[in-house]
Amino acid sequence: MEVIKENTKIVFENWVNQFSDGLYSWALYKTSSKETAEDLVQDTFMSAYHKFDGFEGKSQPKTWLFSILNNKIIDFYRKNAKVKKNEFRISEKAGFQLSDDLFDENNIWKDQEIDPIWDDEVHLLDNADFNGVMANCMDNLPEKWKTAITSKYLTDKKANEICQDLGITVSNYWQIVHRAKLLLKECLETNWV
């Protein structure tokens, strides 16, 4: 038992030397705070160490560590968001209904005003509070929709492979992405004030 523990420690020492700069660069890019980024990297290694038994070498260590870090980054955004997390996830049916409702009987925008929150669009992405609101809005989407809009960033898969995984056609896929974006826009305009 002790031997295994020792071996794990050696593995982690190597990983820290090999991957900590990469993880740190990434966390810094995502959070724009040196201290936060350092803490997140440390947390990542600690979590990885504690769940090392669950890592069966199915993925590359680097990929595994980055996925842990990314979850920590999103948690960090959430904790910082001023709005409380909505604990509900809407159904697909409700999603279609809500996005249809943005348009009137002639299929013209009901609300034609352009929300002033977008005036500052370029700076929003660097704002941790905003990213927190964004993460929460993403969580309210139907599970399948969230998968549809995030999978192209999470994997190298092409659109048609993503569709296969989700069991939908390409035209379904962009419809879902489209509906999801309408709802995200609406959610951000409501919750980011």
Binding site: I108, L124, V170
Partner: protein, 92 residues
């Protein structure tokens, strides 16, 4: 007057609803030539849809910021202090 014009445009070119569909479709699959022309015509006359084009692009960036793992970024170095601290923690 404005409303009437909008209804006419929505009938003869494309509705706002259809236009926003095309805006998001464009990011995923190819638009036909007709779709491209319709999109261009509609957004040149409709401010709300024109703004939606920007929102759609922005949302891609925002989703990417949260989930993308591939975006290139500047190489930064974790301080030696912190590295030793992590190694120290692992020893306990």
């Amino acid at each position: 007057m404005k409303k009437t014009l909008q209804i006419i445009m929505n009938k003869f070119i494309n509705s706002c609803k259809k236009t926003t569909e095309l805006i998001d479709k464009r990011g995923i699959s190819k638009l036909s030539l007709i779709e491209k022309v319709q999109l261009q015509l509609h957004t040149s006359m409709c401010n709300t849809c024109h703004a939606y084009e920007h929102r759609s692009k922005f949302l891609d960036k925002a989703i990417g910021k949260l989930f993308n793992q591939k975006q290139p970024h500047d190489k930064a170095h974790l301080s030696e202090d912190r590295k030793s601290k992590i190694l120290e923690e692992l020893k306990n």
